[in-house]
Point group: C2
Chain length 194, copies 2
Amino acid sequence: MVDMRSLDLDKRDAVCKSAVRLINQLGFDGVSIAKIAKDAHVSPATIYIYFENKEDMLKQLYLQLKQDMVDFILKDFKPGQDHKANFKHLFYQHWFFFYQYPDSFAFIEQFANSPLLTCSCAEMGFRFYQPIMAIIHGAQQAGAVKPISQALYNALVFAPLLQLAKLHASGRQSIQPQDLEQVFEIIWAGLKTD
Amino acid sequence: MVDMRSLDLDKRDAVCKSAVRLINQLGFDGVSIAKIAKDAHVSPATIYIYFENKEDMLKQLYLQLKQDMVDFILKDFKPGQDHKANFKHLFYQHWFFFYQYPDSFAFIEQFANSPLLTCSCAEMGFRFYQPIMAIIHGAQQAGAVKPISQALYNALVFAPLLQLAKLHASGRQSIQPQDLEQVFEIIWAGLKTD
DNA sequence: AATTAATAAATGAATATTCATTAAAGGAGA
DNA sequence: TCTCCTTTAATGAATATTCATTTATTAATT
């Protein structure tokens, strides 16, 4: 088969960026394919070349952003022997991602808290998270932190972080470095083995 | 002025119930006034008697459910001298609400994570929470827990609870009493003064 | 020439909201 | 008690608009 005209990934990217921005601004019910297309300087029909339909587009966006987040958090990270330091690194990398990519963060949260997050979709997102969970599992095996299930760990550590990031992003309260440090130390005090 | 025909609060209630259920099932973008009206056995026009418009309806719903939640949590609660016990009570009342009213919980979360949550709306919701925050403030004044800001406290204590409730509600993982107990003890270990 | 990306335009269904009308409830007067 | 009158709750139908998606066509690339 001869080579054919290839897809323009810049165009797809423009659609994704417009979709994320508009959805964060107007919500799922306030946004339409037409609005996204207009914002991305693209025909509505073009969107259907890259995505099966609207729901498929949103799901692909969610999974892609979630993967991007995990990649960012684990970039250049090599776990060492100091489990508290490892833990602290993961903690702050999460924060940096929320801080640097507020749009990605807001979209992920809006999607994850809507019924659009189907079971299969949630499971795929969870699978992306496995490498991070493996590091935590390592600390547990070494006896550095209390042996609790992944779900509990996730809730105890990352949920507070998420909550603070949302507060910060909303502009209603500014979260300072010393706040984060305080939260980190409290969480660590609860988790570490006595 | 003569008395007039009074509003049928049952009708309003039916609209609210239908709205919450359908929105949890289909999301903000999947639901319409017509669908809600049909589900509530009411004319679409009737909805506009009780609510200014769609957005107003959603906001009223959010604030009402949030107030209901705080009322539930504080029902019959009289704080005593044992700060850990007070704290534990608030913790479990939150859980019981999430457990008993999963629809209210899901709606609150979906709304709070969407751009529909405007600043004024968030502030009103926060004001409802003041009585709970006052109890926590009391424990801090007494020196029972570390002196941290309300925002940090909220993030550390209730965010993990929320996260576990979501996991439980999604059906992906069942949260058992011993899980909750474990989480409570870990949070308390981090917060209590040494 | 073959293949397909990209689009403008079109489609029918669904949307939020309004409007003209009816139903119900109670007060005033007899 | 009966009859009218006022007021407003309630509604079905209609409105203009917007929606997601498809189709027919053009443009670009090999």
